[in-house]
């Protein structure tokens, strides 16, 4: 905030009418010079990572910003989509880089792209957009009116005019929830470009403005997607998918007395299963107090599909806090269908208008000449090497490399497929009662004092949804066993979901989703160690999963295995198993 004070300090005291240069001899106040020098330094630091995105052979485009040295960059979905899967990105170093689409968030109007060819790109530091205050300095860098033929960004400067603004979507796409409003000039072409705070940290991605009567030019009312929202989506975007926002499965409105209450709720929603009902008052969602419908839209709009978020609601004076699993805003395939519609109108293949585009720019390996640069139909080899087309994905290449990364890290902790696939796990419950779990390729048995539960696994796991009140523990154990023993490639259909906080409020973890035996299972991995921390098996849509949390991992003959299994279902703990011994193969037979 030191900066703000200093900048605010540049009050220009002038006597009306006394415009003559009497004061010209007196040097500016040191504070002014210091503030100026500081601002110049900050602006110098934000220029290098600012990207000029070129689409349609130079006829359109926008802005972007590099956020990591390996070239990941953020832009708007509405900039990236017309550009196609491969695009050209100019940096202020004067080089035009090839870039490839990575992941898109059409609802949030965000796209992640990757600039190729370097591992030492200049990049912007991510700031904390929730710390912004109205009146704080706001610095915009970008490519308004696609002016940056030399890739040097235009800088505009202003203040944060509003925080936590809500701007309605068109249909269900391009919703600006919880966005930042600024009076720094944002014009067409600034879309996708960075908004920085006074420290030069990235706090938003500019993408929208209120225009109305003067045509599409700045009227001092621009909106940026908050970087804190994007941080939540970043792991999803890196999965190469078309990612979706979340819904609570309930809608709210303001009651007569000004409370925000549920006015409709889907019985199939997790919120309903957690006890939320019609007319309950929403008090808190995520980290936000809810006092208006806009506040609820803002609080919800920043979450990706599938995250669990704390919800507090009030009924008859009683407050209830529940962790609620958020479903997708769009149904399966709906996003893909929506994206079919606004396809790029066919552009006449014209010669580039900008003659001064960098024909002379340094050639990089695999960098084609300018003619083919502007010919979109031909994907440069360096891009083709990083692109894999697959329905439902923006770029499957990035999903596959993440699956491989997670599998390699998991196997590095001990390749369980080398062991005999007949497992016997002996342990005790919290009551000290003994428990034995026997797992093999096709059978699973749970031996408890009160009796045994045993299944023979078929191709369909529906017969294994037992014991009762577990959501299908035997099926979930089988899925775990199968993952560990047959591995990524033979498990079934697997994809990388991205990152999310474990059980809603835990550390960020990598998530793989596997489909096998008619059940969908999410596997949660420690991104640092590669250990499997938890899995959730959904035996059906719209039912609570069986959750197993693995902890106290200890090495058994070089294989990391959990010695504590906590089994949860429907936000209750079913059992905690302290494992005393693992046996593999015949030694486990009774």
């Amino acid at each position: 905030m030191k900066h703000c004070a200093a900048i605010a300090g540049i009050l220009l005291a002038v006597t009306t009418g006394a415009w003559a240069s009497d004061d010209a001899s007196s040097p500016p106040h040191p504070d002014v010079l210091a503030a100026e020098a500081e601002r110049v330094a900050v602006i110098a630091s934000i220029i290098p990572p600012t990207v000029a995105v070129f689409a349609n052979g130079g006829q359109g485009g926008g802005s972007g910003v590099v956020i990591s040295p390996d070239g990941f960059a953020l832009t708007n979905f509405h900039v990236a989509q017309p550009a196609g899967n491969a695009m050209k990105c100019g940096l202020p170093d004067g080089v035009l880089y090839d870039a490839v689409i990575v992941g898109v968030d059409p609802t949030g109007d965000v796209a992640l792209i990757k600039l190729l060819g370097r591992e030492d790109f200049p990049y912007a530091e991510l700031g904390n957009s929730d710390a912004l205050r109205i009146g704080d300095p706001a610095i915009v860098a970008g490519n308004p009116f696609v002016l940056a033929n030399d890739f040097q960004p235009t800088i505009t400067y202003g203040v944060v005019s509003g925080t936590h603004r809500y701007q309605y979507p068109s249909g269900t796409l391009l919703e600006y929830a919880d966005c930042i409003q600024t009076d720094a000039a944002i014009n067409p072409g600034n879309s996708g470009g960075p908004l920085f705070n006074a420290q030069g940290e990235l706090v938003g991605i500019n993408g929208r403005g209120s225009f109305e009567k003067r045509g599409r030019v700045n009227v001092g009312v621009g909106y940026a997607i908050s970087i804190n929202q994007i941080k939540k989506f970043l792991g999803y975007l890196k999965s190469g998918r078309v990612v979706d926002h979340a819904t609570l499965g309930a809608t709210v409105s303001t009651s007569e007395d000004g409370r925000v209450v549920v006015d409709d709720i889907l019985e199939s929603s997790d919120a309903y299963r957690r006890g939320l009902r019609y007319d309950d008052e929403i008090v808190r969602f995520g980290q936000r107090d809810i006092r208006t419908v806009n506040a609820m839209k803002n609080a919800l709009g920043i979450y990706p599909r599938g995250w669990s978020v704390p919800l507090m609601f009030r009924r008859d004076g009683q407050s209830v806090r529940r962790m609620v699993r958020l479903a997708g805003l769009h149904s399966a395939g709906e996003l893909a269908r929506l994206l079919q519609k606004p396809v790029e109108p066919p552009q006449p293949k014209e010669k580039p208008k900008h003659k001064d585009q960098p024909d002379e720019s340094p050639k990089r390996p695999g960098h084609p000449n300018i003619r083919s640069i502007l010919n979109k139909s031909q994907m440069p080899k360096v891009v083709a090497d990083h692109f894999e087309k697959r329905p439902g994905y923006a770029n499957y290449h990035f999903n596959r490399i993440n699956q491989d990364r997670i599998w390699q890290a998991f196997v590095a902790r001990g390749d369980l497929s080398q062991l005999d696939s007949r497992w016997t796990i002996m342990g005790s419950l919290e009551s000290d009662d003994p428990v034995t779990i026997q797992l093999s390729e096709d059978t699973g048995t749970l031996i408890l004092l009160e009796g045994d539960s045993s299944v023979h696994y078929e191709d369909d796991l529906s017969a294994a949804i037992k014991p009762p009140r577990t959501g299908g523990l035997l099926a979930a154990l089988h899925v775990w066993h199968r993952w560990a023993t047959v591995g990524l490639t033979r498990f079934g259909e697997v994809y990388y979901l991205g990152t999310m906080p474990l059980s809603g409020d835990g550390p960020m973890v990598d998530v793989l989703v596997g489909t096998y035996g008619g059940a969908e299972t999410r596997f949660y991995f420690d991104p640092n160690t590669g250990d499997l921390l938890a899995l959730e098996m959904f035996s059906d849509d719209d039912v609570d999963p069986c959750e197993i949390y693995f902890s106290q991992l200890r090495s058994i003959n070089g294989h990391m295995l959990p010695h504590r299994l906590e089994i949860r279902h429907a936000s209750a703990t079913y059992a905690v198993v302290e494992v005393k011994e693992y046996q593999f193969g015949d030694e486990g037979e009774n």
Partner: protein, 365 residues
């Protein structure tokens, strides 16, 4: 209605040095002073200043809802008991005008009165202990002074969400020399011209402050130069506003309720003006002009068929019937201003009952 309790107003208004200068000259001056000026050290950030101003500005909701006729505007609290200074506009022409305070409290407002020359209005809320700007403490700013503008532009803030804040400088202090054909406003007087874009929908009535958060002026209504299609970003200095507020609060311009307004013995009529409206088929048939008689006052003043009459002397006209009713309260030879909507533009047309309005003050300042 008790309207003049505990509101502090100075007897003598703050002197506002009005000077006529060409904009370019003033801008050049501003630029020079930017380069050569000295500095006064501020001890708080804009964010702190913004926080201190927000409780004193409000969101106002009323009539409207069409493009170009938004149903919202901004206002400034000028007393602890809930007097709100805002612009007189169609928004206030509603049975219920709602004011939302910075804490989200939603209050119904009563119109105390309006000043048609300055196009200002004062509303009153049922409230106590509100934060407010004491007009007596309003200050002046010089050209090139840093300013902040607070408004609910585009109606983007709802409930307890803060008004939008923009920053810039005073580009000029000049006299608004409005006339037909350029800026259509009855106001002719000193204004701050700012480089902040303050003429957005809903911004009118907002506060212009200096960088300490002291009140300088009230953001004016949207004004467009019809010839150049440029929009003017301006604010009325508080010194200009104070006499009008005084006048309104003293009751002289108290809004007459429909019940106690008196009809003159000879009222103005549409036929006297030469206006024929569309057939009145609905209870609220919009007041579209169907025909204008040649050689009539209306014809000479430039009214045309298909113009939609939306206001008469600053009062909303909702229908053919309400236009006839409003006219019946006006003397047959009175000067009036009809506001029409034509091809998306609001056009103010001054008329004098019975004969052509050929006053000379269109060209004099």
């Amino acid at each position: 209605m008790q309207v003049t309790r505990r509101i502090h107003l100075p007897r003598h208004s703050v002197d506002f040095t009005s000077r006529s200068a060409t904009f370019s000259g003033v801008l050049l001056g501003a630029l020079l002073t930017l380069l050569i000026s000295g500095v006064v050290r501020a001890d708080v950030s804009f964010a702190d200043v913004a926080d201190s101003v927000q409780p004193k500005v409000v969101k106002i909701y009323g009539a409207g809802g069409l493009r170009g006729l938004e149903a919202y505007q901004s206002g400034i609290l000028i007393s602890a008991e809930g007097h709100v200074l805002t612009v007189a506009s169609h928004v206030l022409d509603s049975d219920t005008v709602t004011v939302i305070l910075s804490d989200g409290r939603k209050l119904e407002a009563t119109l105390v009165g309006t000043d048609r020359r300055l196009e200002l209005a004062v509303l009153e809320l049922e409230a106590d202990d509100l934060s407010y700007f004491n007009l007596q403490n309003a200050v002046e700013a010089d050209v090139a002074a840093r300013v902040l503008a607070f408004s609910n532009l585009f109606g983007v803030a709802t409930g307890d969400e803060p008004l939008s804040v923009m920053q810039g400088w005073v580009a000029a202090k000049t006299v608004l020399n409005a006339r037909r054909g350029t800026f259509k406003t009855p106001y002719r007087g000193p204004v701050y011209i700012v480089d902040v874009i303050t003429d957005n929908p809903g911004a009118a009535g907002g506060a212009l402050t200096n960088h300490h958060g002291q009140l300088l002026g009230i953001l004016g209504k949207e004004l467009r130069d019809a010839r150049t299609n440029t929009w003017l970003n301006y604010a009325l200095p508080i010194a200009q506003v104070i006499p009008a507020v005084n006048y309104i609060l003293s009751g002289k311009l108290r809004a007459a309720s429909e019940g106690n307004r008196e009809r003159p013995s000879r009222s103005l009529t549409l036929s006297a003006l030469g206006i024929m409206l569309v057939p009145n088929v609905l209870s609220r048939t919009p007041a579209y002009i169907d025909a204008v008689h040649a050689d009539s006052t209306a014809h000479a003043a430039g009214l045309r068929p298909d113009d939609l009459v939306v206001m008469l002397d600053g009062r909303a006209v909702e229908s053919c019937r309400s236009l006839r009713s409003e006219l019946s309260y006006i003397e047959s030879d009175a000067e009036i201003t009809i506001t029409v909507l034509r091809a998306g533009d609001l056009i103010l047309v001054p008329l004098r009952g019975g004969r052509l309005n050929v006053t000379t003050d269109e060209t004099s300042p």
